[in-house]
Each structure stands twice: as C-alpha cells, then as structure tokens.
C-alpha cells in the first residue's frame, strides 16, 4: 500500500494567548510580508500591487484582542467541503494546505470553516487564502513577529 494514502493524526497550529495579545497586528504585517513576492516589508506594502493578504486575523473587542488563523483541524471541514480538491490535509506535516492553482473560489470552505479562518483572495481571479504555517520557514512568520510571545506553535501527534 502506497504511503500517500495513510492518514495522519499529526497536528500543528498557531495558537494565541489572548491574555498577552496586545492587538498590535504585527502578526498580520509579518504574514503579508511572508506571502509577498519580494519578502521585503517596504516593497511588500508600498510597491507590490496587489498587496499580499494576511492569513491571520486579529480579532478585537477592546480590551480583548487575539489573533486567529486556520486551526489545521484533525478532520478539516474545509477539505471535506472543497469540491476541487484544492484543500487537503497534508499527511506529512498535518498542515491543511491550499492549492491556489486548483481553487476556483466557490467559497464552500468559507461556508464551513467554524473558525472563519479562510479569507477570500480577489486579487487575481478569485481563490481562497489561508494560513500555510509558513512551512518553508523555521517558524511561522506571525509567531516570529509577535513582540509579546502571544503566539506559539502547538504540535501534537497522536
């Protein structure tokens, strides 16, 4: 049996501690830079059009603030609902990954994500946009950018 069919219980996600989230939104800034073409903060914001989107959202109801992004569920409803196969849980990393190439922007995922963690990306055609855990980096950009250690990676493997 080929390994690809094996399902994983591995789960990795970024978690926010609302007690020390200060609502600065530097996580959003870092996310935009990490998903920009240039990876340069000034160019990403001031020169790249359309600007990259943040996949993390800081929710606010002052004084409460907290960052929220895809929870990379064990059994992601978005992947169940995705009719193109663009959203899949990656068995290697446990990350719920999105293939922009395949996505047509039908918003089934937006409809079913109980965290509201999927955004609409209307920049070039339409497609969903979501946290990819910055798998190519040592640490998700938002986590690295949080000035108050309010964001951290939680990993469980079971």
């Amino acid at each position: 049996m080929a390994t690809k069919a094996k399902t994983t219980k591995k789960r990795r996600r970024v978690q926010a501690d609302e007690k020390v989230c200060i609502g600065c939104k530097l996580c959003e800034v870092a996310c935009i830079v990490a998903h920009s073409k240039s990876k340069n903060i000034i160019r990403a914001f001031n020169e790249e059009t359309p600007r990259a989107l943040s996949r993390v959202l800081v929710e606010e109801s002052k004084p409460l603030t907290f960052a929220l992004q895809c929870r990379h569920c064990d059994d992601p409803p978005c992947a169940v609902a995705c009719m193109t196969g663009a959203l899949r849980k990656d068995p290697e990393t446990g990350a719920v990954l999105h293939d922009r190439e395949k996505c047509v922007g039908c918003w089934m995922c937006v409809m079913v994500c109980p965290y509201g963690g999927i955004q609409r990306d209307m920049r070039e055609g339409k497609a969903a946009s979501k946290c990819d855990l910055c798998l190519e980096l040592d640490e998700p950009a938002c986590v690295a950018a949080c000035p108050n250690a309010a964001l951290f990676v939680v990993e469980d493997e079971d």
């Binding site: 049996m1 080929a2 690809k4 069919a5 094996k6 399902t7 959202l57 929710e59 606010e60 109801s61 409460l64 603030t65 907290f66 929220l68 929870r71 569920c73 409803p77 169940v80 609902a81 009719m83 193109t84 196969g85 190439e101 395949k102 047509v104 922007g105 039908c106 918003w107 089934m108 995922c109 937006v110 409809m111 079913v112 994500c113 109980p114 965290y115 509201g116 963690g117 999927i118 955004q119 609409r120 055609g125």
Partner: protein, 418 residues
C-alpha cells in the same frame, strides 16, 4: 473484490479514503459509466466558461488510484446488482464484492417538453454535457436556460462567460427559490439582470422550436410567449439516481434509505451521496441533501463502516455557496423559516447588494443567509451545527465585524480551544 464502489465522484472517492483509513490492504474497485479520472462535478460550469482548464478539473491527482491501491473501471455502467449473490454486472462481466457502495449520484430531471429530443438541447450535470454545450455554444449567440436553480444559474454563468445572451426561465416567482429566501432571491435577480440576463419567472417551457433542419430556434413558453435561442439548457432539477439500486430492491423513498451506518436495507450494500436521503438535523425529516460536502462525508463514513469500524452518520443540513459572476451568496440551514417561533435578525443595504440574516429558534441558530458579505460565514455554520446557545450575543450575529471577539469568554475559549 473486498470493496466495490459504484460512482467515481464525491461519495465514491470519500469512500475510498474512508476505507483506507481503516483497511490499507483490502482490494477496492471503483466503477463509473463516466470515462474520466475522478473530476469535480461542480466545476463543469467553470469548464464551460473557460475558467478552468482540463488538467484542473480533476478532484484528486492522477496518481490517486495508484496511491490508494484502487482498481478503476471507467466507461461502463453497472447494470445489475445481485444482492444475494454479492455480485455486480458491468459490461456483461460479473464482479464479486464483499461490501458494495452505491454512489450513483443524481439524474437531471427532464419534464415533458415538446420537441425536446434532437440537437442543441442539453442537460447540465456531467463533464461531457459541458463539453458538448461548449461546442454548440461556439456557433450560438443566444441561449435559453430552463430552470433558475443552482445548476441553471451555474450554466448561465458559463454561457455568459462565453459571450452568449442568456434568458433564464423559472417556474417559481424568483430564482434559486429552493436555496435562497425571498429577499436574497430578489437581490440575486437584480444582479442577474445587471449582467444582461433576461429573467422570466412564473413560466416554463412548453415546446422547443426547431427549424427545417432540426436546429433549435427557441422555445415556446406555457404562457404563450416565445424566446429565441440557438441552444437550450434544461436544468429543472436533479433527483436521486436509484435506477441501479432498484435492481437490488433496496428500500427507497425519494432517495435510497440508509441506516446510520449508511447501509441500505440489503446486507453489505451501502449507499451515499446524491442518491440517498438522509436525516436533516434541523428540519427533523429525512430527505435528499444533494450537495458536495454531504456526498463526500457520507461516502467517507460509509467507507469507514464498510471497512468494519462502526461510525454513525448523524445527518446533516442544507447549505449552499453560490456565486454567479460576483455576488457571493451563502445560505445555511433553515434559511427560509417563518413563524412566531422563529426570531429573525436581518439587515441589508440595497446599494451594495448586501444582506445578512440569521434565524434563531429557542436561542439556537437554525439558519443564516449572507449575500455579498460572506466573510466568516463558517462561524455561523459551526454554531448551527453544534446548536450553540447564542442568546448572549445574538445581536452581534449580523454585525459587520462579527467574530469570536463578541462571544462570551467561556464559549469563545471552548470553541477556540480545539
């Protein structure tokens, strides 16, 4: 074969993935009369409109059958199921099964319309339909779409993208009458008209008009008017396809009846997807709920059960996300409930064509409608699914920046902790 799956779409693929979660070695065959590698049915309108190319039509990678060790048998229908003998017949050949899944989907409902048979008339549920329609559309300028439901409007979008003039004929007094409430329908109608679509409601086709060579020239409506057109798309609706299941004499009503493990009345025969009827947990009735996520989920659950791990399917509820050239719209659950027992909170803005509505019953959300502003709609779906008491924050439900920040602390923590 340990497992035979009939239907190579959402439910069928779900079943393969479900079986392999439990059983990595049992033999699986997947059979479909459609010749294609598993593809995404809802994408056929995008394909028609040139928005999705061939290689992006596939629901799973080309290596899927190999990766999951599945034998695909594509291009021929299964004609008979022999429940007693545990065999199915395909292309005259009998295949023995340990467990069988019927995932035959739905069939387009075609009402009696005069002169329907012949060229230039299409239903719109299969990739090949889209291919044929695309070909016909090449030399066409005007199209008539009979049926203003989801499939009809998705076909309309495809045709608009090809530059055709489209007339939609809908028997009800509004489009999408089975998935949108009146207000949302109205907004949608306005939007369609702004796209140049001619909308005829309260009428339907009586006859297809053809010229001497048999080519379509238009349709004549029940009301007497005629609409000129070069192609006709019939998209009145889809009904559970139970033709094959009937050969095994499984119980059915509107769709095949299954128990909570998705087994039919016949031992070792399971069914899932658009061909079955399942429990609607909001409306408390059994009914077909033909949407992609339900089909996949049922298929996967059936697969897990077939592989010997009992897993109950609790039922589901209706939801739809539909967008026709802009105007994203989402409806969830009992979007249309009315009556004194329901509390309805809504707001709309005519200019921006936005509309938000939630329906509350016993402090629980039972339905929601979002037009144009659909961001974070899934939070609402989650609240409906888990029947969360929303009393404490119900007035925030339709606020512009609705999110977890408005939840009471304990509930927020509970829902975000997982």
């Amino acid at each position: 074969m340990d497992y035979v799956i009939i239907g190579n779409s959402a439910a069928g693929i779900g079943a393969v993935e479900g079986i392999r979660q439990v059983d990595q070695t049992g033999s699986i065959a997947i059979i479909s009369d459609e010749p294609h590698h598993t593809y995404s049915r809802p994408l056929i309108s995008y394909y028609l409109g040139g928005k999705v190319e061939q290689h992006n039509m596939y629901f799973r990678p080309k290596t899927f059958y190999r990766d999951y060790d599945v034998e695909p048998m594509l291009g021929n229908p299964v004609t008979v199921i022999d429940a007693a003998g545990h065999t199915v017949t395909v292309a005259g050949k009998k295949i023995k099964y340990g467990k069988l899944l019927v995932a035959t989907g739905g069939s387009p409902f075609v009402p009696p319309i005069e002169n329907l048979a012949g060229s230039d008339v299409f239903t719109f549920t299969k990739w090949d339909d889209a291919k044929a329609l695309a070909k016909a559309a090449e030399k066409a300028e005007r199209a008539v779409v009979i049926g203003g439901g989801l499939i009809g409007l998705k076909a309309t979008e495809g045709l608009l993208n090809l530059g055709l003039n489209v007339t939609v004929v809908e028997l009800a007094d509004r489009v999408l009458s089975t998935i949108l409430d009146e207000k949302a329908s109205q907004i949608f109608g306005t939007h369609l008209k702004s796209l140049g679509v001619t909308l005829i409601t309260g009428d339907t086709a009586a006859a297809v008009n053809r010229d001497g060579e048999g080519s379509v020239t238009g349709v004549t409506l029940k009301g007497g008017n005629t609409v000129e057109a070069d192609v006709v798309v019939v998209a009145i609706g889809v009904v559970p396809n139970t033709v094959l299941a009937d050969t095994a004499k499984v119980k059915k009503e509107r769709g095949i009846i299954v128990d909570e493990h998705l087994m039919t009345s016949a031992k070792d025969i399971y069914a899932a997807g658009d061909c079955v009827e399942t429990f609607d947990i909001l409306r408390h009735i059994r009914r077909p709920q033909p949407i992609w996520p339900n089909a996949y989920e049922q298929g996967r659950t059936a697969g897990i059960n077939m592989a010997g791990q009992p897993l109950a399917y609790k039922g589901s509820f209706g939801m739809n996300s539909i967008e026709v050239k802009g105007l994203p719209t989402i409806t969830v659950g009992m979007y249309d409930a009315v009556g004194p027992e329901y509390e309805i909170l809504a707001k709309s803005d005519a200019e921006s064509l936005t509309y938000k509505k939630v329906i509350i019953h016993n402090d629980r959300l039972v339905g929601a409608v979002f037009v144009n502003d659909i961001d974070r709609a899934g939070i609402m779906t989650g609240l409906i699914k888990d029947q969360v008491n929303v009393k404490a924050f119900k007035h925030d439900l339709i606020s512009d920046n609705f999110g977890y920040a408005v939840f009471p602390e304990a509930l927020r923590k509970e829902r975000l902790s997982s």
